[in-house]
Amino acid sequence: MVSFTESLDYTAPGLIILPQTPQLIGLYTKIRDINTSRNEFVFCSNRIIRLLVEEGLNHLPTKEHTVTTPTGETYNGVSFEGKICGVSIMRAGESMEMGLRDCCRSVRIGKILIQRNEETAQPTLYYDKLPEDISIRYVMLLDPMLATGGSAGMAIEVLKERGVPEDRIIFLNLIACPEGIQCILKKFPSIKLVTGFIDKGLNDKNYIAPGLGDFGDRYYST
């Protein structure tokens, strides 16, 4: 029997964990491995991101829609409802934009830059540029790593200030940990949090462990 470590089994309303299939575990093994080349890291991350986006999109509303097929039959299907946009938390979140665009071609993408203040260790908002009509859109919030939840929490605050209802925020994330999830879902109980994997926790430097290091550094090779 082949054994492997899968995501912590953590249940909370609004939390969705991708099915822990052998394929997904194989991809995570690749991106976690410190010896994986950058090309492969980018490729495997993109595949996981695509799965996250597909799952995230499942939480958008649909309505019944009947169409006629090319062969002349009637088909009772559904159509997608609601406008969406992406918001990436710079810079690591920007790595997920391509995955979103792979599924939603001309989706608008907003940006939020949050940096940790070295003196206070508190996250600070440096910059944001969001679609003007963001309040009527569903928001796919992009950030690959959910550690303490500090930056993500601040980004969600920004979205709420612009009039986005909490239940229209879908937060997509590659690796999370219980601390981050608790922090986010306690403050924003109505958002949807879609993650691929929940690790054990944080190490003394507030990195997710075992994690994969700094996602942005590995994706952008810095």
């Binding site: 082949v2 054994s3 492997f4 470590t5 299939t21 052998p22 394929q23 997904l24 575990i25 194989g26 995570y28 093994t29 976690r32 491995d33 410190i34 010896n35 490729f43 595949r47 695509r50 799965l51 597909e54 999109l57 499942n58 958008l60 509303p61 649909t62 829609h65 169409v67 006629t68 097929t69 090319p70 062969t71 002349g72 039959e73 088909y75 299907g77 559904v78 159509s79 997608f80 599924c103 071609r105 190490n203 990195y207 997710i208 462990a209 075992p210 994690g211 994969l212 290091g213 700094d214 590995r218």
Partner: protein, 438 residues
């Protein structure tokens, strides 16, 4: 248990013998041209000349080696090849070079013929081979005509000089003919005199082959029927119907909608293709793999142990290409073209190109639609014929009729079948036309 027999199992074997220069080749080519069906192959016994020793080759150059004796041919190899074709396997026919008197390192591969014509002076000589023939033909001609034809041919195509040809004729060809070839005419079902001018005999042969092809088509139809009526319960464990999530429902609706633009159709079909491929990849074999992460800790994960090959059932199966290249760029690709024969309506394998050595691979077969499953069954059989084991085959499709699903899993219970949307009725093909715009 339900089983599947492809139409190329038990091909019709026709043996065509006759003296050198009697007109065997022109009889055969007249039959082939008039018949005009692609799944008929001709194998010349000349391809099975034994590999000569240096000493024999010397003699051959001096026209002293007896090529017209039955011992010059490697009968065992020809017999093995016929047996393999009988079982639907691929064979590699050797190529003999007459100017150098050597078997070249090139071969011609023969796979999945419905009719095999074996032609050569001794085609009816070997008893084991004779037993494999469904029809035996002997082409008879006047010896003077034979000599004249042979002389012209050998000078033009086989690089021989006149003296050599004449010497060979009297030393080997004629005595061998009288002693060993002519007597085999008694085994013939059809005796063709005057070679290719004998239209009556040629038409008889053609009618015979047509009859056999018709029978094959009928058998295939009957087999498909029996796969639906067969009472065995099929293995549902190997069937995965993709979860019908809101996204998948919405994507399917866009694909089914006749008003969807071509641009949208391509885009959304690729999303569906990617979802199907991801599900296929979930059933690959894995092994444990521990890695160290950038935080210095260990993670106990998995790695994949088999290489994968995608095989598209053309033309429609090609709609998965781009999604495959994005998901598994290192993967090799094979193609099968399966078309319906306009005469009988039965699907037939018209072309195949597979990567070498796929025996140990996991093969993902693609076809966006499965109706009667006739093409799908055939494609799966091609994989098995090439040594892929049934449990290493994954078949992915978007729209599949319930009847087709049942037939596939009854005939091949160990393959993994991944379906986007099962349909109650067979949906006529439209996805390839919409995707390619033609």
């Amino acid at each position: 248990m339900a089983t599947y027999h492809p139409p190329w199992n038990e091909p019709l074997f026709i043996g065509v013998a006759g003296g050198s220069g009697s007109g065997k080749s022109s009889v055969v080519s007249t039959v082939i041209n008039k018949l005009n069906v692609p799944w008929t192959v001709v194998i010349s016994t000349d391809s099975y000349y034994k590999q000569l020793t240096d000493d024999q080759r010397e003699r051959a150059f001096r026209s002293e080696y007896d090529f017209d004796a039955p011992e010059a041919l490697e009968w065992d190899l020809l017999y093995d090849h016929m047996m393999q074709l009988k079982q639907g396997k691929r064979i590699y026919v050797p190529q003999y070079a007459f100017d150098t008197h050597t078997r070249t390192d090139k071969t011609v591969s023969v796979y999945a013929p419905y009719v095999v014509i074996i032609e050569g002076i001794y085609a009816l000589y070997d008893e084991r081979i004779r037993r494999l023939f469904d029809t035996k033909v002997f082409v008879d001609a006047d010896m003077d005509v034979c000599l004249a034809r042979r002389t012209l041919r050998d000078m033009a195509h086989r690089g021989r000089d006149l003296d050599g040809i004449i010497a060979q004729w009297f030393r080997f060809v004629k005595p061998n003919y009288i002693e060993k070839v002519a007597p085999t005419s008694k085994y013939a079902d059809i005796l063709v005199t005057r070679g290719s001018n004998n239209y009556v005999a040629i038409d008889m042969l053609i009618a015979l082959i047509r009859q056999a092809l018709k029978q094959k088509a009928a058998q295939q139809k009957e087999q498909l029927e029996s796969l639906s009526t067969d009472k065995t319960v099929f293995n549902r464990d190997n069937l995965l119907i993709v979860p019908q999530t809101p996204q998948f429902e919405g994507l399917s609706t866009i694909i089914m909608d006749r008003t969807t633009s071509m641009e949208d159709f391509i885009f959304y079909f690729e999303r569906i293709a990617t979802i199907l491929i991801e599900h296929a990849l979930d059933s690959l074999d894995v092994a444990e793999q521990s890695v160290t992460t950038a935080t210095g800790m260990e993670y106990k994960g998995l790695r994949f142990t088999k290489s994968i090959t995608g095989v598209a059932i053309l033309r429609a199966g090609g709609t998965f290409d781009i999604a495959f290249r994005r998901t598994v760029p290192e993967m090799s690709f094979g193609r099968l073209l399966i078309l319906s024969d306009t005469a009988t309506g039965e699907p037939a394998l018209r072309y195949e190109k597979l990567p070498k050595c796929i025996t140990n691979d996991t093969v993902i077969l693609t076809d966006p639609q499965v109706g009667s499953a006739a093409a799908a069954l055939m494609a799966i059989q091609v994989m098995l014929d090439h040594g892929v084991s049934e449990k290493n085959i994954i078949f992915i499709t978007f729209l599949a009729s319930r009847l087709g699903i049942m037939r596939i899993l009854k005939a091949f219970p160990k393959i993994r079948l991944i379906v986007g949307k099962p349909t109650d009725e067979m949906v006529p093909r439209f996805i390839d036309a919409r995707y390619f715009g033609t």
